[in-house]
Symmetry: C2
């Protein structure tokens, strides 16, 4: 059975690295970068956190791409800041239109102090500073079911394989 992995979490927790590596582990797979879908809009662009309409459009686009990929027999990895409300709507659409698919929802997590420490290690242009913490707060305020949260604060980058295995095998992440 093909799976759709939604790799979410605040900025800076390693969503992209984790998602890309995960995608590479499947013989048939597709990688959907939410930011990239969102930025297809040019004329009339508004950041997703300022326009519910645009955010919805992005999720409808992600869902349609996911459906096409699953129907072409591919595992799908979605790399995007996905809050519970969006995942719920997305899942309803997917389960209505596709049979034989499983959705996995993982909110990667790193504690604030560690997030700031890692951020400071990046090249200047990529540093986010305290803005890192804003999304942490937003996730916390939106009440994520704890079973989807994967705290990787104490894992080293060298332990990525362990993280990937857990994402694939841990039944807690099944949506």
């Amino acid at each position: 059975m093909n799976k759709i992995y939604i790799i979410s979490g605040p900025a800076g927790v390693g969503k992209s690295t984790t998602s890309k590596k995960l995608t590479e582990q499947f013989e048939n797979s597709a990688y959907i970068e939410g930011d990239l879908i969102n930025h297809m809009v040019i004329g009339g662009y508004v950041p997703p956190w300022e326009s519910e309409k645009l955010l919805s459009l992005t999720w409808v686009n992600i869902a349609d791409l996911s459906i096409n990929f699953v129907q072409a027999n591919k595992n799908v990895i979605i790399d995007y800041v996905a809050f519970p409300v969006e995942v719920e709507k997305f899942s309803q659409k997917i389960y209505t239109e596709v049979k034989d698919v499983e959705i996995i929802y993982v909110v990667l997590w790193v504690d604030g102090d560690e997030l700031l420490r890692r951020d400071a290690l990046r090249i200047k242009e990529h540093q986010m500073g305290v803005r890192c913490l804003e999304l942490i707060n937003e996730f916390e305020s939106k009440g994520i079911d704890n079973r989807f949260v994967y705290n990787t604060t104490n894992l080293q980058p060298s332990e990525l394989d362990k993280i990937l295995l857990n994402i694939k095998e841990n039944p807690a992440f099944k949506y």
Copy 2:
């Protein structure tokens, strides 16, 4: 009425520059880069010219995105090597699922000698050499209706606005 512009043509004729500028001219618009859709496939990736299945999948994805964008009241600009057969299938899907939309198909064209001259002006890593000419031959062999071909050989890059106006106003490009 919203429009879907398919900006096609061999590599090196200026598809991306033209498409991006065109997208920016609308108040509400979305830019779909075909290569990027195609490269979402990671596991099991094959270049589109080696797999009809993957090429079809890419076009279905482009069509679904286009439909969503048009329904969200946006003009859509597609930047991709699009041959007549693909445009025909795409259009059938669009006109079946959306009312009140017009498809514009433009095959940007630059004569071989000029294409090679422009190619040589690029930085080394971006030069394609004689590979430029392969797609020219492929387009010619697939028998494009001449009215969709827009030969820009004698236009300077500074005349981009003229090109954009022609793409928008010339009734010959209506599909």
